[in-house]
């Protein structure tokens, strides 16, 4: 551990801290009594340790002040992308680390599932139960009946090592959050652009316009707000697309109050305007996208093999306006057949046989022709003039306008089309990898981002699984999360209930709470009970933990060594930075680093992880940066300079050739991959089921649009409900209702309210606000109550959880498995008041405060 040498200034500051920070644990608490009566702390007793925060995906750099094995306080560490700022969640770190609710030892269940009877066992005893069962199932039923759930992850390395370990056992995934997180659209972007470019990499410091969709600033990395504000201060415009008047909307230059789930209509309109107003970047579109490729009547692209028997399938046919003849792009050689080719973008062109073919770009233009601002206004309920104004801001400032999104727009049965359309919009406007636009995040080996490609080659079992994915996937022919492995939460749940296409046998959950985060919590609960072996790795006893056979105690992120990467959503320099995350204190009891647990499991299951342990991986990941992990520990962080238009310099492709890392080497505006995966080759708007437009007769009984997913300033999905500080600033599951709507139902601010769909009802506390439209209801997601006994609905996982009232029996995006978590609902006052047994007062929250050392 790195004990920094204190400067005189820090010495004085720490002395002051020692006086006050001891009272991190308030009066009435044993800790304070102990510390308050002790002699004043000597500065030499206190260590200041630089690290990173993992309380959300922002990964701000922080300093921990540690004394006698206790983290007394956390501060922002200046001099990095987060500039010394941190959000409220960072201050829950000491409370979570030293929580009286921490699980410190492996345990085995000795009562019925959900009865809450546990017995402490040793790690060896735990492995002796887990490993023989896993081996038996792998041998008898196949590795694909072992499912794992990686949640949103205590960090990226846990996800990657889990995936590596389980895929090598023959697992095809199973639960997991790929279908409700950025993974789904990253996957689409890989097919279109080659690499992700929609969350991370917006060029905030140079942008002229920021188009922000479904992101309210509270989700992750508040330093992004500083970037946005500075851009606004130098004249850039912020456009926010959101059904709610969020904090972001309140700061926007233009807010588009879009109807839930209709945002794709806006993007298609932008694309149409770019084309019809002749404002697209012709050079980029002609040279760096597959727009000029000719399209066959079956929807696939015309190849040399279609024209000449035995011709190449890698050669795509275009109409060359220089020679007035057909030429081709060779995707293997990455070259045009004629060096001065000027491929036609629009029109229909004849090949020598006389047959006529449309260009892909013409097909796109035809497909978006209907999307005028007026048409979009009908669908989105945003006035046409506002749509036009937004399009003007984006188009007139391109190249140099950037796009940024939240995850909520993923919650859709057509999220593939959304991600596809957004990529097309960026490409047409010339904003891809351009100054002020959206920078592509390549997975080519380069400094500070090796986490995305630092995985060893596939083993024998994994290769066999991939080759026969239809047979082994829980959703054959449907979702393909990350383009390779089948299985997502909804399909896994269904498979467990119906035992089709097969019955999964073993569940391994880590950093996740599927009953909180997946569709139909009650069905997930029933499904989890069907496993022969269930293992849950966590810091706390969670609702899913209560259904497990074995509990393994995990270390807190600030108790382990890691290279930390700001995840998803950031501008540079954050997007180009890696920093050290190192322990403030060692893990308590027998808690272990999640990654060490996985490496241990792999060894016992005879899986070759490629790396012998995490330090081995760290060295590999840092090699392009020419720095060792121990040097990073001292240095703190590394930032790579930003460069533009890397498709011209070969920096986006593994073979270093100019172009994009896609099947054609160009931006696949026209996507054969999506077509193969069950989508169309071009984006198409599909109305969500259970919406006022698709299902108007339902409005009689369920008159309001019900949606979820707005982020809290206190929580990260289902985490931190046991932090008193977080519960103080966000005490209750909160439903936002427009005052006019509330009045109709006799609901007052602060009343407990039932939200009811066709599938059930949940209870939340009313917040009356005009920030939401009278036709809509927004619910907090992922609530449970650690204070409620397990015997009361598994710590209250169903009562206030909106995911308990959405059915799993709905349409999913065929290419990435996403689906709409909302629908239509009715509301009424809950005459029975708040849920039983939840903490309502500050006094009650004292039970969550850390106890004195030695009295835990």
């Amino acid at each position: 551990m790195n004990n920094l040498n204190l400067t005189r200034r820090q010495f004085l500051k720490v002395a002051a801290v020692a006086g006050s920070a001891a009272s991190l644990f308030p009066l009435g608490n044993e800790v304070l009594k102990g510390l308050a009566t002790a002699a004043p702390a000597q500065p030499s007793d206190m260590k200041v340790i630089q690290s990173a925060c993992r309380q959300c995906y922002g990964r701000c750099t922080i300093n921990g002040f540690v004394k006698d094995g206790r983290v007394l306080k956390v501060e922002g560490k200046p001099g990095t992308f987060s500039e010394g700022t941190v959000c409220s969640r960072a201050f829950s770190i000491p409370q979570i680390m030293h929580s009286p609710l921490r699980i410190k030892y492996p345990m085995k269940r000795v009562g019925a599932r959900g009865e809450g009877k546990w017995q402490r066992i040793t790690w060896e005893e735990a492995w002796d139960i887990i490993i023989p069962k896993m081996k038996e199932v792998q041998e008898k039923y196949g590795g694909h009946t072992i499912v794992f759930n990686n949640g949103t992850g205590r960090d990226q390395l846990i996800l990657m090592t889990m995936q590596k370990c389980f895929y090598e056992m023959g697992s095809t995934g199973g639960f997991g959050v790929g279908n409700v997180c950025k993974i789904a659209n990253d996957d689409v972007q890989r097919r279109i652009v080659g690499n992700p470019c929609q969350f991370t990499g917006w060029d905030g410091p140079k942008t002229k316009t920021i188009l922000m969709m479904g992101r309210a600033l509270y989700s992750w990395g508040y330093y992004d707000w500083l970037t946005i504000k500075r851009a606004q201060e130098r004249g850039a415009k912020l456009i926010v697309v959101d059904p709610r008047y969020t904090v972001a909307a309140s700061k926007a230059d233009l807010w588009l109050p879009v109807r839930q789930g209709s945002d794709l209509a806006l993007i298609l309109t932008f694309i149409n305007m770019l084309i019809t107003e002749n404002r697209y970047d012709k050079t980029f579109v002609a040279q760096w996208t597959n727009a000029p490729f000719l399209v066959k009547e079956d929807g696939f692209l015309l190849r040399q093999s279609d024209l000449v028997p035995g011709g190449s399938t890698d050669q795509f046919i275009v109409w060359d306006e220089t020679s007035n003849s057909i030429q081709h792009w060779d995707a293997k050689a990455m070259a045009w057949s004629s060096s001065d080719a000027q491929p036609a973008l629009l029109g229909t062109h004849a090949v020598p046989s006389g047959k006529q073919y449309r260009t892909a770009f013409q097909a796109l233009a035809d497909s978006v022709k209907m999307w005028t601002p007026e048409k979009a206004a009908e669908v989105t309920w945003v006035p046409a003039e506002k749509i036009r104004e937004a399009a003007r801001l984006y188009i007139d400032n391109s190249p140099g306008a950037c796009f940024m999104r939240g995850q909520k727009i993923e919650f859709s049965n057509h999220s593939s089309s959304k991600s596809h359309a957004i990529a097309i919009m960026m490409a047409l406007a010339g904003n891809l990898d351009a100054e002020g636009g959206n920078l592509v995040r390549p997975d080519t080996p380069h400094s500070v981002s090796a986490v995305f490609q630092a995985l060893p080659p596939h083993g024998k079992i994994r290769k066999e699984t991939i080759a026969n994915i239809k047979k082994y996937s829980l959703c054959p022919g449907q979702a393909k999360i990350s383009g390779e492995i089948g299985g997502f939460a909804a399909a896994t749940t269904r498979a467990l209930i119906t035992e089709k296409p097969f019955l999964p046998r073993v569940y391994w959950g880590q950093t996740t709470e599927p009953m909180a985060g997946s569709l139909d919590s009650r069905q997930v609960c029933e499904a989890l009970k069907k496993f022969e072996l269930t293992v849950n790795v966590d810091l706390f006893m969670t609702p899913t933990g209560e259904l497990s056979d074995i509990i393994l105690p995990a270390a807190h992120p600030n108790e382990v060594d890691r290279i930390e990467y700001p995840q998803s959503g950031h501008s540079w320099p954050a997007a180009n930075t890696c920093s050290i995350r190192q322990p403030f204190v060692p893990p308590p009891g027998e808690c272990r680093d999640d990654v060490d647990i996985i490496f241990d499991l792999a060894k016992r299951m005879n899986v070759d992880m490629g790396w012998k342990d995490k330090y081995h991986w760290f060295e590999f990941a840092l090699a392009p940066s020419k720095i060792t992990f121990e040097e990073l520990r001292k240095k703190g962080h590394l930032t790579r300079p930003v460069t533009y238009r890397r498709y011209q310099t070969g920096k986006l492709r593994r073979d270093n050739k100019p172009g994009f890392q896609t099947s054609s080497g160009k931006v696949n505006l026209y996507s054969e991959d999506l077509k193969k995966d069950g989508w169309g080759p071009l984006p198409a708007y599909i109305e969500e089921p259970f919406s006022p437009l698709s299902n108007p007769e339902m409005l009689k009984d369920y008159p309001y649009i019900f949606f979820t997913g707005g982020r809290s300033h206190a929580y990260f999905h289902s985490e931190y409900r046991m932090s008193p500080f977080m519960r103080e600033i966000h005490p209750f599951p909160t439903v936002e209702i427009n005052p006019k709507t509330a009045e109709k139902h006799g609901i007052n601010d602060g009343d407990w309210v039932y939200i009811e769909t066709q599938h059930g009802r949940c209870k939340q506390r009313a917040c009356l606000t005009t920030a939401i439209a009278p036709h809509s209801i927004h619910c907090d997601h992922d609530w449970w109550f650690p204070e409620k006994p397990v015997t009361d609905d598994l710590h209250g996982i169903f009562e206030c959880n909106p995911n308990a009232i959405v059915s799993n029996d709905r349409v999913h995006d065929p290419a990435v498995g996403t689906s709409n978590y909302g629908g239509l609902c009715k509301i009424y006052k809950a005459e029975d008041g708040p849920p039983n047994g939840i903490y309502m007062t500050a006094q009650q929250l004292e039970a969550f405060m850390p106890k004195a050392p030695g009295r835990e």
């Binding site: 941190v86 959000c87 309140s250 300033h713 600033i729 920030a771 439209a773």
Partner: protein, 188 residues
């Protein structure tokens, strides 16, 4: 003279409550007590024609603090540098000051039996550090310094803000904390 004070740029405030929690950690405040309260002012208007701003409310460290005048034990006092503090050794928890304060920023801490309020992190100021809420503010919305020093950051901010600098209603106590709000109508 010295007058330590805080200015909050509300155009940069995103109402994230980070200040409120940072303050609780730094000052070891009991659960249920806040030195820093973040209010939402609005939204005003009808959906979707709305406006709102966030307003962090702390002790205003008034020039003529009424809380000090009414304190029967001289526990509430104003320092030379302008910071208003409560000496917990002298405070008897009578709560007169709570009644005297026009801004509702003082809280009686039952467990401790004393009055709690923002100290402008006097313990940090003494070692030339800014208050905790200033140092971590994700919007860098808070500016701290000496209003009597024309070259300080606060003095500069006050000059630049001009008529966009707002203060809470003055009922003879001369509140010190300044709020900058340009993008919205001041309604507090």
């Amino acid at each position: 003279m010295t007058r330590k004070i805080m200015i909050v740029d509300l155009d940069r405030c995103i109402g994230c409550h980070s200040c409120a929690v940072a303050c609780k950690q730094e000052n070891g405040i009991s659960l249920g007590v806040f030195y820093n309260k973040v209010r939402t002012v609005g939204p005003f208007g009808n959906y979707p024609d709305l406006e709102l701003y966030y307003l962090p409310v702390i002790c205003q460290h008034c020039n003529k603090p009424e809380c000090v005048n009414v304190c029967p034990t001289a526990a509430s006092y104003k320092r030379q540098d302008g910071i208003v503090l409560v000496d917990h050794n002298k405070c008897i928890g009578c709560q007169y000051c709570i009644m005297a304060c026009p801004y509702g920023v003082r809280t009686y801490d039952k467990a401790k039996g004393v009055i709690e309020k923002c100290t402008l992190c006097a313990h940090r100021v003494e070692v030339n550090e800014v208050p905790a809420c200033v140092s971590i503010c994700p919007g860098k919305a808070r500016i701290f310094g000496d209003l009597d020093d024309p070259n300080s950051e606060v003095s500069k901010a006050v000059r630049e803000a001009g008529s966009f600098l707002h203060r809470f209603a003055d009922v003879g106590n001369e509140p010190g904390v300044g709020y900058i709000l340009k993008s919205r109508k001041w309604r507090s």
